[in-house]
Amino acid sequence: MSNVLTIAGRDLGAYFRTLSGYVIFALVLMIDGLLFNAFALGEPDRRSSEVLAKFFYFSSGTTMIASIMLSMRLLAEEKQTGTLVLLTSSPLRDRDIILGKYLSGFAFMSLMTLSTVYMPLLILVHGKISWGHLFSGYLGLLLLGGTTLAIGTLGSALARTQVLAAIISGVMVVLLLTCWLLTRVTDYPINEIVLELALYQRHFTSFTLGIVRVGDVLYYGMVSYVALFLAIRSLEARRWQ
């Protein structure tokens, strides 16, 4: 665990030492703020819970995009610059490297996501929503962002360059987002299985409504686990090149 934290600490520091971390952070805050004003607050009178659900709906998009941008550098950048050798020639397990890097991205993404909390707090002060609704929405955002980040870590482990890593991760996330469309052309039980795989449609909506379901939490946990497991295997495979 010590090795994981050492790597996570260095990579988290790298987000704050380089411009890209601040740019992503600022863009997310700006876009979330604009969407909140334009669509959540700027539309005709609605119930507070609907405004909050709308906020989480928009935030899920920016969180996913930001997670892909944060994760693309995790391993691909190290491969590009040759710094991965420092880690692979050290007495570290491949899982320590992957988990450390994932943890750094998750910490940064969490900080970025939670820094938008002032917007729902405005609804809490001026409207009628519960703390539970707020909590479930942010739990959903962190789970969705964490899962996207895990997929991005896999993309970064597979790719040689950051751009390629972003493309691979983006394709995987879009496939998981849109696979529910297949339910229109498939019958039971295939359509149910496909729907269960959908990253957003089946599993995120309940969080925006203030409902936390164990199945949804398990789903995001499982997808993250599989993605990180494959990323570890991908790193191991480099030794067999």
Binding site: G13, S90, P91
Partner: protein
């Protein structure tokens, strides 16, 4: 300390190295010589447990590198041809991180970093950003990260690559300073560096070790011919006649230079420079300059690679 037996690595159908066998004793400084693409880096990466071999064994201090790579990595420090540096960190932060991932206990990290900085002359750069360092200092930081955990074996892949002459001298002195503290395996195709810093040489060509031993042993195995360049004030048939009459002289090549100078390239069986010079003086020749010809190690290296390449010595790639 290190036993390598039958080490083989294939990339697809291409054998990068084939059946390498060599030993390295504790405290030795070994020069690993070879042309670009000869298999040096692949071998070093396998020794550093970054790559797995297709076949063969590597034993370090009695520990098998294949079955226990973690234990081996604790004992080895590796500097790749491009130092693995994080530009956004200061030298101190970077070495602290390197020490932690290389297994130095938290309490000993500060002293390990200080010791590595002292060995590599980086103490005054502790707070400087790695990205703002000169190429020479970056290379030093690369060496420092390799030795921060005080490994018994240091593997340096092209440590003088891209350095200017002053930086090369500094790096050479740094490597000489590490002698006795670590076993060193230095890969290079800069022959002067190898000649001045290493006890023993491994010459690799097309993925195979073609010769190993001290420079003396390699020279004697290659024959003992020595080239001497002598500049004379003017061409003298008497001098040429006298030289060609010497039993030690194999050949004399005349190469006219500017300002009426004449350069003689005299090849002798063994080092007979005093005899050659005496003969020239006795024949009335006026010597302006005497210098040993092409460096011995370079000649050995070219001979070995020519043999392997079928006559193409690729001299253009030598530094």
């Amino acid at each position: 300390m290190i036993e390598v037996r039958g080490l083989t690595k294939y990339y697809g159908d291409h054998a990068a190295i084939r059946q390498l066998d060599f030993d390295i004793a504790q405290g030795e400084v070994i020069g690993f010589l070879g042309l670009n693409g000869a298999g040096k880096t692949t071998t070093l990466k396998i020794l550093s447990c970054i790559l797995l071999p297709t076949a063969g064994t590597v034993i370090v201090d009695g520990v098998d590198a294949l079955s226990n790579p973690h234990e081996i990595r604790k004992r080895i420090g590796f500097l790749p041809d491009t130092p693995p540096l994080y530009n956004e960190m200061t030298v101190g932060e970077y070495l602290t991180f390197a020490a932690r991932v290389r297994g130095v206990a938290r309490k000993q990290t500060a002293s390990a970093v200080a010791a590595a900085e002292e060995k590599t002359g980086l103490t005054h750069k502790h707070r400087e950003l790695v990205g703002r360092l000169s190429h020479g200092y970056r290379q030093r930081v690369g060496v420092a990260q390799a030795l921060v955990h005080n490994p018994s074996l240091l593997i340096l892949d092209e440590p003088t690559s891209g350095l200017d002459p002053l930086q090369i001298v500094e790096m050479r002195n740094l490597i000489k300073g590490l002698r006795g503290q670590h076993t060193l395996l230095i890969s290079s195709h800069i022959l002067a560096e190898i000649s001045q810093t290493c006890d023993r040489l491994l010459v690799i060509q097309a993925g195979e070790i073609v010769r190993q031993g001290t420079e003396e042993q390699l020279a004697s195995s290659m024959g003992t011919r020595v080239e001497v360049e002598i500049d004379l004030e003017a061409e003298s048939p008497a001098v040429l006649e006298k030289l060609r009459a010497l039993p030690q002289v194999c050949s004399v090549v005349v190469d006219p230079q500017q300002n009426n100078l004449v350069r003689l390239v005299v090849t002798t069986e063994g080092d007979h420079r005093p005899t050659v010079v005496s003969a020239i003086v006795a024949a009335g020749g006026r010597i302006m300059r005497v210098e040993r010809g092409r460096a011995r190690l370079e000649r050995i290296f070219l001979e070995l690679t020519k043999k392997k390449e079928g006559g193409d010595g690729k001299e253009g790639q030598l530094s």
